[in-house]
């Protein structure tokens, strides 16, 4: 067969014919694509939730959950000035109490619990001692000795309030024997029975007659770490559009009449559930005032009831701004506000990261139960969003990511009841969060301010 092929012609014609051919895929192809894309998003959020859950679990285990199965309140030790001119023992502090769970360890652990072989749990209290030659407490040196009280019953330990002033010569002479036998000469050990037996307590009572006003200590600035979660109900407040309303575009058939009235009454929106998850650091400024700062994630959304229609033009008129002259933004949409071929449920969703900074004020209560209020200001960044904007004629919803504000400012208020137990504080109370700037840029004539109402549940751990 004679072949007069010219390669390029053959290939061009082949390509032309191949490109002319079109096939229409079955519905199941798009369904498969759509399912895959949506499930990927679900996996993304599932992963996010799992990550947050993991962090929370670790935080609870490592920072909040007490390492001691039993905790007692730190004993209060009040040093008192001597009434007569003798060398003075000045307890510095009662150090935190630690614990040993090793049942085989029937040994003395400074500032800790000891589980004796009889399974009886006891605790040890170490009080650093200093000896001074005068009443002047300002010139104290680092403690060279410790007073160790061992064998205290933890159930009663939180009840005692040590007040003692010992003639140091007696103590030293008494302790020298114990020191030599128990701790190698470094610490002083008292008989555990002293504190648990009323009769033995009389050894201390003779000192009470010589009590003098206690020395005021400078309040320590506690640093605490908080993890908080709030299920929230989210909604929005909308304003504006009066000055920017447009007639429907001539390309937008059928034409919609301009509809007067309050925008809030013309849109069918409903509140929806969201949540807030955050972690904060807290610094006690005074006994009742605390500075707080941290990071939090907010998922806000509200529902939109709309209608499906054929694809039509959606026009948004834009305000003049410092960077932009007035104009219009035209896009295509198949979603109507008022009527259409079928009902369509949409969601306006916002995924935000905030850096709240604020103050907590204790109104009522004692060290254990308190009523507090708090306020924060929250610079906020929009991580992601799925938002539908209403057109100026209120006829269509469309998307215009370029009009969505990325940086915003929120403010939060809360009141909560807290319960402190063993350095871990649990709290619960209502909170309110309000967005100070519109969700959209100034060019968009309609303003939207997000609001969140929620119940915050938090747990706070004292770090130091």
């Amino acid at each position: 067969m004679e072949r007069n092929f010219y390669d390029t012609d053959f290939e061009d014609l082949l390509k032309e014919k191949a490109d002319q051919y079109k096939m229409y895929p079955s519905d199941k192809v798009w369904k498969g694509i759509d399912r895959s894309l949506r499930s990927r998003r679900k996996w993304y959020w599932t992963g996010f939730v799992v990550l947050l859950s993991g962090i929370s679990y670790l935080a609870v285990n490592e920072l909040i959950k007490p390492s001691n199965p039993v905790r007692i309140q730190q004993p209060i030790v009040r040093p008192e000035a001597p009434a007569f001119n003798t060398p003075q023992i000045t307890p510095f502090s009662a150090a935190p109490i630690a614990n040993s769970q090793d049942e085989q360890t029937d040994r003395l652990v400074p500032n800790g619990f000891v589980v004796q072989k009889s399974d009886q749990l006891t605790t040890t209290l170490e009080i650093p001692l200093i000896t001074t030659a005068s009443n002047d407490l300002s010139d104290v040196q680092a403690p060279s000795q410790s007073l160790i009280i061992a064998g205290i019953d933890p159930k009663t330990a939180n009840a005692f309030n040590l007040r003692f002033m010992l003639p140091v010569l007696n103590l030293v002479s008494n302790n020298e024997e114990a020191t030599a036998s128990e701790t190698g000469g470094k610490n002083n050990i008292l008989n555990p029975g002293i504190l648990t037996s009323p009769a033995e307590n009389n050894h201390f009572n003779w000192l009470q007659d010589q009590a003098v006003p206690e020395i005021k200590t400078k309040p320590s600035r506690h640093v605490r770490w908080q993890l908080a979660f709030s299920p929230t109900v989210n909604y929005r407040k909308m304003t504006g559009a009066k000055n920017a309303r447009l007639n429907s575009s001539s390309g937008n058939i059928p034409l919609a009449l301009n509809i007067p009235g309050d925008i809030n009454s013309l849109l069918d929106h409903k509140p929806a559930l969201g949540f807030e998850l955050g972690t904060h650091g807290l610094l006690s400024l005074t006994r009742s005032l605390t500075l707080k700062g941290g990071i939090q994630f907010n998922y806000s959304k509200y529902d939109i009831h709309a209608y499906k229609s054929r694809v039509e033009l959606a026009t948004i008129s834009l305000n003049a701004t410092a960077f932009q002259s007035p104009g219009t933004l035209t896009s295509y949409t198949d979603i109507r506000n008022f009527s259409g071929s079928s009902s369509e449920e949409l969601k306006n969703q916002y995924f935000q990261l905030s850096l709240p900074v604020g103050l907590e004020l204790r109104l009522l209560g004692n060290d254990r139960v308190q009523l507090n209020i708090a306020g924060t200001i929250q610079p906020t960044y929009l991580l992601n969003g799925n938002t539908y904007l209403i057109t100026n004629d209120y006829k269509n919803y469309t998307k215009a990511p370029s009009l969505v504000r990325k940086w915003n400012m929120n403010t939060g208020f809360e009141a909560f009841l807290s319960y402190d137990r063993g350095g871990v504080k649990w709290q619960i109370g209502p909170q309110f969060r309000y967005q100070l700037l519109s969700s959209y840029k100034n060019a968009y004539p309609i303003k939207e301010y997000l609001m969140e109402y929620g119940i915050k549940i938090g747990v706070t751990k004292t770090i130091r």
């Binding site: 007069n4 096939m23 694509i33």
Partner: protein
């Protein structure tokens, strides 16, 4: 919806824009897949896989070329990967030695000439068909084809030559082209569009 609006919508995973993009390009892309695939079902699988890649990688598209061309490249690579994954291409590598292959005498619908040509291409053994598709229709050169198919460049050339000869025979046998026609009029019915 303009292409720009579709693109912007797809960037933010807007389902309406994604559906619009799919509706606009899927017919053409399915025919691309069909030329590579064994059957329509395989072609639809390729198309689905390809569009999932398109939507998930759309943020990587840079306005350096046509959007359609970018989509088409993803679809073609998806087809090749699909063939490799299913070992359909590897199993037919021996086509280098497959001279004198008998072309199936299936009836080729003569409804539309473009469809006839595509159906004739699909009558080629899969190895020939793949190289011919990539070189003559998709515009890849032999070096690129050799890298895509993990074969020597010379293999790609020789397979293309054989594929072209075989396709010519089929087209003539089906009376779609006439032998010894002058340049530019190989397809006898081109002028009339019948």
């Amino acid at each position: 919806m303009t292409e720009e609006a579709i693109f912007s919508g797809c960037l933010i995973n807007d389902p309406v824009a994604q559906r619009e993009l799919y509706g606009k390009y899927s017919p053409k892309m399915l025919s691309v897949c069909y030329r590579f695939a064994h059957n329509r079902e395989d072609a639809e699988d390729m198309l689905q896989e390809g569009f999932i890649k398109v939507f998930s990688q759309i943020h990587t598209f840079q306005n350096k070329g046509a959007f359609e061309g970018w989509i088409r490249r993803i679809i073609v690579h998806t087809c090749i990967n699909h063939l490799k994954k299913n070992k359909k291409f590897n199993d037919s590598v021996d086509i280098i030695h497959a001279t004198g292959i008998q072309v199936r005498e299936e009836s080729v619908p003569s409804i539309v000439q473009a469809k006839q040509v595509v159906e004739c291409i699909r009558l080629l053994p899969i190895g020939y068909r793949t190289v011919l598709n990539l070189y003559a229709i998709e515009g890849y050169n032999h070096k690129e084809i050799s890298e895509m198919l993990d074969v020597e460049e010379s293999t790609s050339r020789s397979q293309y030559t054989r594929a072209k000869q075989m396709l010519e025979d089929i087209l003539i046998r089906k009376h779609i082209i006439q032998p010894a026609r002058i340049k530019g009029n190989w397809f006898g019915l081109t002028a009339t569009g019948q």
